[in-house]
């Protein structure tokens, strides 16, 4: 099997609310998997469980056969499982170059190099420019991240897991709050990334055009449960999915 990530019966509740209820999914290497569902379906909670932001109540997560359940976030990240957040999350006072440089310092485990000049590490510099080039930010390398335009911030946000050398990228609503043009640009960036860099991607999304344009497979969550799983065409015609999104037809 070419499986890269498997969850087995993940459960998480907040008080009486079962946010994630017995979710088992399996993602294969190189796949682009969309996780969709109405607001409050548990998509972000599922991401939080996989990446260690929240502790699971029950169930297990395996990455490449290794149990990563409840590991602290930094350990999961250093196994190359890297996520982005629904709200853009950068290092605002640092420049684009420095944002990615920090990430590469961590990836190359040089955080404890305390006396060398950070900007003098030639291999890191080359890699930072390669990633900046890929996301179209090379000419803004010395602009502080906090001063970028919204679209550029989003590009940098996605460049961070890329610079981490992610094998599995979890993108939480990569097109949230973007104009149609920006959405188009991010969509093509994501599909370019997964083909060029051979990254497996799991993403949540509300824009169905984006979902059908790039996802290989869909998982539909509703009230914390998986209600459908499969190829986009199959899921689109699934009755339960239509019901979850549109409600039961009352007047037939």
């Amino acid at each position: 099997m070419n499986e890269i990530l498997r969850t087995e019966g993940l459960v998480k509740s907040f008080g009486n609310l079962q946010a994630v209820n017995n979710v088992s999914i399996s993602v294969s290497k190189g796949e682009v998997r969309a996780i969709i569902g109405p607001n409050g379906a548990g998509k972000t909670t599922l991401f939080n469980l996989i990446t260690g932001k929240l502790k699971v109540d029950k169930g297990k997560t395996f990455f490449k056969g290794r149990d990563i359940t409840n590991l602290p976030p930094h350990q999961i990240a250093s196994l190359n499982v890297v996520r982005s957040f629904q709200i853009i999350s950068l290092f605002p006072k640092l420049t684009c170059f420095e944002n990615l440089m920090c990430v590469l310092i961590t990836r190359k485990k040089r955080n404890l190099s305390i006396f060398s000049r950070a900007k003098g590490h030639a291999d890191i510099k080359a890699e930072v420019f390669r990633v900046l080039e890929m996301v179209g930010l090379a000419d803004k390398a010395s602009v502080p991240a906090g001063m970028l335009a919204h679209g550029d911030k989003k590009n940098l946000d996605i460049a961070i897991p890329l610079a981490c050398n992610a094998e599995l990228m979890l993108l939480d609503e990569p097109t949230a709050g973007m104009s149609p043009e920006e959405t188009q640009a991010i969509t093509s960036l994501i599909s370019r990334v997964c083909h060029q860099e051979k990254v497996t991607i799991i993403f949540t999304e509300h824009d169905m055009r984006v979902v059908f344009a790039i996802a290989d497979n869909l998982t539909v969550l509703h009230q914390g449960k998986v209600i459908a799983d499969g190829k986009p065409e199959e899921v689109r015609d699934n009755e339960k999915v239509i019901e979850a999104y549109l409600g039961k037809e009352l007047y037939v």
């Binding site: 957040f85 999350s89 950068l90 290092f91 920090c102 990836r107 190099s113 006396f115 981490c164």
Partner: protein, 321 residues
């Protein structure tokens, strides 16, 4: 603009070299009072740099750094009193004790951040104060330890007494310059940038694989060592260790000096400490109740120069100072 930035680099280097030469030449034309005052500036600057590393680079605001200042001071005082007059031994011991206390307080404090961290460090600072104040048999209680000497520097082939004020001035200056050089390297190193990523966005940093607690803790330990060194230098300069060194109001000195100079610049703590010490000394001798003047100056700062003196110049000339 490579040309312009290299010109700026050149002029900054020349300025720095001139500044260092000026500091070395100072005792030749200044009175004892000013030699004493300038030593005080160097010490306050180191104290401020200890706070600054943790605040500006890692994003943790400590209200308890006076604890490490006092630990450094008392260690040197006790070493000279009970063990030997070796400066090396006393200062190494001061570094070790401030690192040790810093490691314990740091491990307990960096788990929290923002205001909670500030209050926790304030609490630990007061704890250290209480221990120093109450442990009369060891620390002298509220009498402190008077008559601290200045020790002897043993180079093997010759020995230099630090008793003359000019010798002590040069000793302080050398340690001050060394520390600034080391800190400059640290904040521009991969470790420094790891701290800045923690400062800017702790969550994102940990989700790229940074063990935030570990690096914040390390920054805390380095910061306490620099602060402890400042205390060690101070106690020999003024010749007395007293419990108020560790009182919470003493923790405010490096914060004020850093803010006056410009928290988000590297040179801020130096410029700020120089202004702070000179101002304090001038105002104390002229109007007595200098806190009133300090309050007014802080008001002007907060209203018009929020980024501090060097922050203002940095923005004006678009260079990081």
């Amino acid at each position: 603009m490579p040309c312009r930035s290299s010109q700026i680099n050149l002029s900054v280097t020349i300025l720095l070299a001139a500044g260092v030469m000026f500091l070395f030449a100072l005792p030749a034309f200044l009175s004892r009072f000013y030699i004493y005052l300038f030593s005080g500036i160097f010490i306050m600057t180191l104290f401020a740099y200890g706070f600054h590393l943790l605040f500006t680079y890692a994003g943790y605001i400590s209200f308890g750094h006076a604890a490490f200042y006092a630990v450094g001071a008392y260690t040197v005082a006790l070493m000279y009193k009970h063990v030997s007059d070796s400066v090396w031994l006393a200062f190494l011991m001061a570094l070790a004790t401030s690192a040790f206390i810093g490691a314990i307080i740091g491990a307990l404090s960096v788990r929290l951040n923002k205001i909670y961290f500030a209050f926790l460090t304030l609490g630990f600072g007061q704890l250290v104060y209480t221990v120093i104040f109450r442990w009369r048999s060891f620390t002298g209680g509220d009498d402190g330890i008077p008559g601290v000497m200045r020790g002897t520097l043993d180079f093997g082939f010759f020995q230099l007494s630090l008793k003359p004020l000019v010798n002590y001035y040069y000793f302080t200056l050398v340690i001050f310059l060394l520390c600034i050089f080391v800190l400059w390297r640290i904040v521009n190193s991969p470790f420094g940038y790891t701290l800045m990523s923690i400062r800017d966005n702790q969550e994102r940093s940990s989700f790229t694989g940074v063990n935030v607690l570990k690096y914040a803790w390390l920054a805390f330990v380095i910061s306490s060592m620099v602060t402890g060194l400042a205390g060690a230098l101070m106690v020999s300069l003024c010749g007395m260790a007293y419990p108020e060194l560790s009182f919470w109001s003493s923790s405010a000195d490096p914060i004020l000096a850093t803010l006056i100079g410009g928290a988000f610049t590297f040179s801020g703590p130096f410029v700020g400490s120089a202004c702070y010490v000179l101002m304090k000394s001038y105002l104390m001798s002229t109007i007595g109740n200098w806190a009133i003047a300090l309050g007014l100056i802080l008001l002007v700062l907060v209203l018009f120069f929020r980024s501090g003196i060097m922050g203002f110049f940095s923005q004006r000339f678009k260079v990081m100072l």
